[in-house]
Symmetry: C2
Subunit: 212 residues, 2 copies
Amino acid sequence: MSKASEKAYRELRERLLRGEFNPGDRLVEDELATLCGVSRTPIREALQKLANDMFVQQIPNRGTYVMEISETDQEDLFELRAVLEGVAAARAAKNADEETLALLDKQVARIDEALSDSDGYQLDTFLDANRRIHSLIIDMAGSARLRVFLQNLTEQPVLIGTLQRYSMANLKRSNEHHREIVEALRAGDSSWAQSVMVSHIHAALHSFNREK
Amino acid sequence: MSKASEKAYRELRERLLRGEFNPGDRLVEDELATLCGVSRTPIREALQKLANDMFVQQIPNRGTYVMEISETDQEDLFELRAVLEGVAAARAAKNADEETLALLDKQVARIDEALSDSDGYQLDTFLDANRRIHSLIIDMAGSARLRVFLQNLTEQPVLIGTLQRYSMANLKRSNEHHREIVEALRAGDSSWAQSVMVSHIHAALHSFNREK
DNA sequence: GAGAATGCTATTGTATACAGAATGGCGCGT
DNA sequence: ACGCGCCATTCTGTATACAATAGCATTCTC
């Protein structure tokens, strides 16, 4: 996927995440084309990709519609993510190398620092470091397929924004989980790593539900 | 995805599964277009879909290549499938309704019949019933995402043909697993259903490795 | 006045033409 | 003779033109 398609994809994805389109809205290719400043061809490619990500739904000969997400869908998402990230953590424990572990330590420390920063904790730093941590672990698991699946899961509209509602206490606990996971990985204990990771994701769901 | 795109997708997918293209081969859009009797546009859509299915790999400005599958990839596939189908079975146990359970019984019986048929067991019947069983269970789990993921997993080139190598004994054991899973589902016992399902998939991997 | 059928319009699906990027070969220079 | 660079060819990426389909409204008939 090259320049124009990529641009259209990013643009539309961004707008979908921002909620600029409402669930159920029809997306007309021509309008999107002018909106993104490209022709319909790359728009169609972008829409196909978005359909794969389950951001939109394509109905043959009838158009593309913004996906409507149900109540249960969100729990689905978390459950699947918990299971798969659990598997990733377990596998990562077997493949752990000190180099990557050091990188993980660094990200955990970054979050510590951001959270202890008294003039308002820096959420962006947390989000970035958090993303990197999970990404590194998934990479350590060494399965391309797992990576693809989890990427799909973590980039869902329902989830974006979720993290932003965490309270300070939850963020701190979240990072304690990270620390424990890294410890488990370093110990090469896959059950430990897996179970902490599963807890970690479930805790996130719980926090979210309580605070929304 | 409509007529021509669909046709191209099916055609190419079929050929890929048949092994008509070798891993690493470059797929030139024009050639595929004449091969499928459509223009490049639907071919490009089909290729994008195939790339999502991880049948091919697209490199920007350089073309599309038939995916090369590594040794570990196959075990990955089975492991992920085991985990996800396990989750599906567990969830299905909670949602089980007698109507669907009856359909499952029917498919199990179909396989029994096919396997006891003395003039050569009918593999096609087994494959079809097997597919339906797994499909019904996934549907009972009631998660669209899970369905999509598992569909991707079960339709990989590595897996197609796997089932066809099973020995009679393995097929019989496989159906015993099916029977037990249905029993667990009927009992509403999600742990039981999950663990049998996981065993079921792992047994399949093992059979395959031994007989290849 | 109600229902069905037909034509109109808007939008998707497909083909083709054109532009730009990448690779391979050829020639030129050293 | 060997290496570097340029040109040509080939293929991908994008735009646009054309075809087909679905939904809607209008009209005609009963």
